[in-house]
Symmetry: C2
Subunit: 227 residues, 2 copies
Amino acid sequence: MNIGIFGTGVVAQSLAPGIARLRHSVMIGTRNPAELMERGTPAQGTQKTFAEWSRAHSEIKLGAFAEAARFAELLINATSGGASLEALKQAGEENLRGKILIDASNPLDFSKGFPPTLLVKDTDSLGEQIQRAFPSVKVVKSLNTVNAAVMTAPKSVGGGEHTLFLCGNDAEAKAKVSEFLRALGWADLIDLGDISGSRGMEMYLPLWLRLWGALGTPMLNVKVVRG
Amino acid sequence: MNIGIFGTGVVAQSLAPGIARLRHSVMIGTRNPAELMERGTPAQGTQKTFAEWSRAHSEIKLGAFAEAARFAELLINATSGGASLEALKQAGEENLRGKILIDASNPLDFSKGFPPTLLVKDTDSLGEQIQRAFPSVKVVKSLNTVNAAVMTAPKSVGGGEHTLFLCGNDAEAKAKVSEFLRALGWADLIDLGDISGSRGMEMYLPLWLRLWGALGTPMLNVKVVRG
């Protein structure tokens, strides 16, 4: 399948090869590919410049947002939360129309330092904002509750015995995303209903950040234990 | 140990007998005990009037907030989040001074129906508000992330193989609360640091409510799986 990933940071750089390993064809989408390839500093949380990373991952294509959107049968939003709506606007409604978009982003606001606060919460969420801005896109919120390295390697934490959430308005899109996630190794998926489930999934982040602090590693997740 | 529980709703009615079973002496604190005993309708989520419940639980004492505070060596706040600060004011700073208070409440706002929103979030929390209002009290946030029935019976969900969080500014108070929680059956406790950890613990509620909806039961909890 052709997969388009919006974003070039640590999440996209972790997702892209993890997904390409499953024999999907992957294109990373960015605002300005030429400028990105000339950038002399690594993205936050990464070790290499994007050009160096790109040379080490020749299987990953690179294009403008619109190009990645046209290329893809399945899209993943891995941009920072504050930049997501603008990135999708640049991709163009006509290139996104009818497609499934996994929204893996979190609306984190680092402007006042660490810990970040949330740009949107409680009565709304980034997942819902994206769905409202692009009504023809089938938005499925998922993957945002785990570290980038865990997204495509759930077995790296406790042998994979933990839970991934998803939500969205389109049942068929959720079924397709579930199949895609199972292929990545996610055995325990919980469907939280319509896209407003994004509120809880995004508001979980402050707890997740505290768990990282308490355990000293972001290689963690929760398993939902039932009665 | 003498335990005082603030609140008379479903959480207090579940906590009180569960704690009394461990041979603690328990007093429920309320605004007006006489009025409560005359009330003709059950509290939300309960089946009996408080007087009927009280007759069936003669081991549980009842007193005004101030009386329960004076009685107790360890206090638990199980009032609704919006009423917690006022309840503690009625208990009186002089009766609370230096005592440990487990804050099990959530700042839920049901004024616009279901799902509730949060009265405080993101840059502050109810746990912190209580700690600021009563600086001499050793506030430990805990128990608020599970259903009332699970609080004193963790083994009723998945044999008890799941996690309870706590946070607070006083290390000794957290050690004493941890001992108390272990006696209730909580084997996996995670200390999230100072009282500002309440933010994440309270903002988890929207996800918890969605899980209840998805699984069809509030008898659930999360187990934190480590790398």
